[in-house]
């Protein structure tokens, strides 16, 4: 009995030793020599594997970076949009290269054809895919360039950064956006664009991609760019170009002066995260029109939207009153205050 145990242990041990010797030599012979910096660089990357850098994943990007270190002294042409400048600085440090700071980008949805601005003329109930609907028809609102609202961009986003707002039926981008560009690829109508985030997140862009002439564009959507060219004339930096009846603001040239925004007759130019306008600006823009009591009122009450209304020539006083009434209601009625708190929590 003991013999059997001894024999089996000894023979298995012998096989084990023999195999380990063979494996040792094989491992030596077929050793893959890999630059250890690839692992280091990969460790520094965000491991999102989103493809936003243009490579197949973070590992491929790390390999490309290390390869670039052999030929060049900088990381030109390589950028991890997810990690941003911090991660790129780390990568540069590992590879002892230099890297230029890049302006962070963000996805911008250039369509404002919400349910209110571009009312439904048809109803679509086919497969829930923008790519398919785009091949089929011009869209429920009728605009052949506008957002179809079926959410191919939402499906493509790996960062939960873009959602369809059920009220407007349009996608909205939140702070989680890392500018990987997946939604830009997914949109069959090229509505989404990567634009610089801007100082303090301030951005100005034309929220329309309709290349039709003014009449047909306006027919389908109240806030379409009609290609009138007013913004082009007013821009002091030559940042706006007009092509195919569509204005485009070059983010590199734009100095965010906001002069074009009130000029637009269809409110197609959007400004984001700017402080409210000083009343001075409004007076300067509308000097020839004398009836303007709202301007003298509390500056904070006059919102950007209101100034646009003023431009159209409507009487601003009722709006001011309307702005005041809810305040008094809030003070008097405890129920409504409760509601507003609830919404804040949500």
């Amino acid at each position: 009995m003991n013999d059997v145990i001894i024999f089996s242990v000894a023979s298995l041990g012998a096989i084990g030793i023999a195999a380990s010797v063979i494996l040792y030599f094989v491992a030596q012979k077929f050793k893959v020599i890999e630059d250890p910096r690839i692992d280091l660089v990969e460790g520094a990357l965000p491991a999102a594997n989103c493809g936003g850098c243009g490579f197949a994943g973070c590992r491929a990007f790390a390999e490309a970076s290390v390869k670039q270190a052999e030929d060049k002294s900088n990381l030109e042409g390589l950028n991890c949009p997810v990690g941003g400048n911090d991660v790129m600085a780390q990568v540069a440090e590992i590879l002892s290269l230099t890297v230029e700071e890049q302006d962070p980008l963000i996805a911008v949805v250039r369509c404002n054809g919400s349910l209110a601005n571009s009312p439904k003329k048809a109803s679509y109930e086919g497969a829930s895919s923008c790519a398919f609907a785009h091949n089929l028809f011009s869209g429920e609102g009728g605009c052949p360039f506008g957002c179809l609202g079926l959410g191919d961009c939402v499906k493509s986003c790996a960062f939960d950064a873009i959602f369809i707002n059920p009220e407007t039926g349009l996608p909205e981008v939140n702070d989680k956006c890392v500018a990987c560009g997946a939604c830009v690829e997914a949109c069959p109508r090229d509505i989404i664009e990567l634009r610089p985030k801007g100082k303090k997140d301030r951005r100005i862009f034309v929220s329309c991609v309709n290349q039709e002439k003014g009449g047909p564009a306006k027919k389908n959507c109240d806030v379409a760019c009609i290609g009138c060219g007013k913004c082009v004339k007013v821009c002091p930096f030559d940042a706006i170009t007009l092509e195919n009846s569509l204005a485009y603001i070059d983010p590199e040239k734009c100095k965010l002066c906001r002069k074009c925004v009130p000029e637009c007759p269809t409110n197609a130019i959007h400004e984001l995260n700017f402080p409210e306008r000083k009343p001075k600006l409004v007076v300067a823009g509308n000097e020839e029109k004398p009836a303007r009591p709202a301007v003298k009122a509390d500056a904070e009450a006059v919102k950007i939207a209101d100034t646009r209304e003023v431009k159209k020539g409507t009487d601003p006083i009722p709006e001011e009153k309307a702005a005041e009434t809810p305040k008094s209601v809030e003070k008097d009625d405890p129920a409504s205050t409760g509601n507003s708190e609830e919404t804040k929590e949500n």
Partner: protein, 444 residues
């Protein structure tokens, strides 16, 4: 003996409401929108400008590419503008907009109903005439007819098949045409035979039109080499490849044209248009269009000038019913819902179907239970459930491998699916994407 194709097929309710209604002539529209691209292939190039006075039958756009077709004015009057209008596709396409004034015809067009039997032109002249007069396939695909008749080198056609199947439910335009213009159509078949250089022509008609089978069989006795073949009722028998399989039992290989097996298929409406072009010198400026639907007050078949807005045809049918869910250009299986009633009737419009709300609504989509009913009804032997999945997951390599390009988009799979899945929607998307990939590959 009745014939049919073997693989797949479905039996949708026929609903041929308008089959006893004689063809009436629709009054001229006030404004005609004549698109410059009413055919498969490159759009034609407009020859007229704003303000030009034009006559009926005058050429207003020239098809310059190899696969393209001429466009002629269907009305007389003044060109209001050459601009984009919404067409049946829902997109804006270039069209010639004509303000109609009177009904003045171009010289040399024989407008009488006298039947002209002698065919005087030679093979080449016939094809040139068909090209000149802008004849396209009137079954729906609108492939330019002269291209179809030019048999490529090394191939030989031995049989001409005339499609009088009209397998789409509701539509009756071909049926009425065969009954009322059978004699003219038969001369058209004779002309097509001569253009192709074949001795045999078979007219395939489904057995739900016994009057048409009887009528045409009687006329066919006066012609040599034309036979009428009754077919069992089965959708999609009117599809080119299925019809060839049913009538002469030959199978067109994947990705190839019917000429590969020596057959050329033309629609019965096309045969009539060919007769008018060759014998009467009349371009393709009008066609028979069915206006039908369960709630339509006055369903019927109308001879409509190309470019007439759909709304005018609906007026002739008794107006838009209150319970309208969808207005479809074509039949219920393969037609396309319109999103503007001002879209013009074009060469490929065989019918306008007004569906009731209840009938048109899509049902709730449930999960696929792998019952494989879609596989058993697919006339091309594809696996629609699998194609839907691979397109959903954007695996377009696999989609191509599963032969998505062979799909004829007949909609049998979606019709039969007990889970109401949008199978054809995804297959169409897959065809589109794979087509793009294949074209990009061919460019390299």
């Amino acid at each position: 003996m009745l014939k049919t194709f073997k693989l797949g097929g479905v039996h949708p309710a026929e609903n041929k409401i308008s089959e006893d209604k004689k063809i009436e002539v629709l009054p001229l529209p006030k404004i005609a929108y004549i698109p410059i691209s009413q055919h498969l292939g490159a759009p034609a190039k407009p020859l007229v400008n704003k303000g030009d006075a034009i006559k009926v039958g005058q050429q207003i756009a020239k098809g310059e590419a190899f696969i393209s077709a001429n466009i002629h004015s269907s009305v007389s009057g003044k060109v209001q503008k050459v601009d984009t209008v919404i067409d049946a596709s829902g997109y804006k396409r270039t069209a010639v907009v004509v303000q109609v004034e009177g009904d003045e015809w171009e010289d040399g067009i024989d407008r009488t109903r006298d039947i002209k039997r002698d065919i005087t032109l030679s093979q080449k002249e016939i094809i040139a005439k068909i090209n000149e007069k802008g004849i396209v396939g009137l079954g729906g695909a609108t492939f330019p007819s002269h291209v179809k008749l030019m048999v490529p080198d090394g191939k030989k056609a031995d049989v001409l098949i005339i499609n009088g199947v009209e397998c789409e439910p509701y539509l009756t335009s071909d049926h009425r045409l065969m009954l009322e213009m059978g004699e003219e159509m038969m001369i058209g078949v004779e002309i097509l035979k001569r253009a192709l250089g074949v001795n045999r022509a078979v007219i395939g008609i489904e057995n739900n039109k016994p009057d048409a089978i009887e009528h045409l069989s009687k006329i066919a006795k006066n012609f040599s080499g034309i036979e009428v073949q009754g077919l069992k009722v089965k959708y999609p028998q009117g599809a080119e490849k299925q019809l060839i399989k049913a009538i002469i039992n030959r199978e067109v290989p994947s990705g190839k044209l019917p000429i590969e097996v020596g057959a050329v298929v033309n629609n019965s409406g096309t045969a009539y248009a060919v007769y008018e072009a060759v014998q009467k010198n009349k371009p393709l400026i009008e066609r028979v269009v069915t206006i039908t639907g369960k709630s339509v007050k006055n369903p019927g078949n109308f001879m409509v000038r190309i470019g007439t807005p759909v709304s005018e045809l609906i007026e002739a049918g008794g107006g838009l019913p209150d319970d309208t869910g969808k207005v479809i250009s074509g039949g219920p299986m393969m037609g396309k819902a319109l999103n503007s009633l001002e879209a013009p009737i074009v060469k490929g419009t065989s019918g306008i179907l007004i569906m009731q709300e209840e009938e048109a609504a899509r049902k709730q989509v449930l999960n696929c239970i792998r019952c494989s009913r879609c596989v058993s009804v697919c006339p091309m032997g594809l696996e629609p459930y699998l194609l839907e999945k691979v397109v959903m997951f954007e695996d377009f390599e696999r989609t191509e491998k599963e032969r998505v390009m062979d799909c004829i988009e007949c909609g049998s799979c979606q019709f039969t699916c007990p889970a109401n899945r949008p199978l054809l929607d995804y297959i169409r998307l897959g065809k589109n994407k794979v087509g793009q990939i294949m074209r990009a590959r061919a460019k390299k």
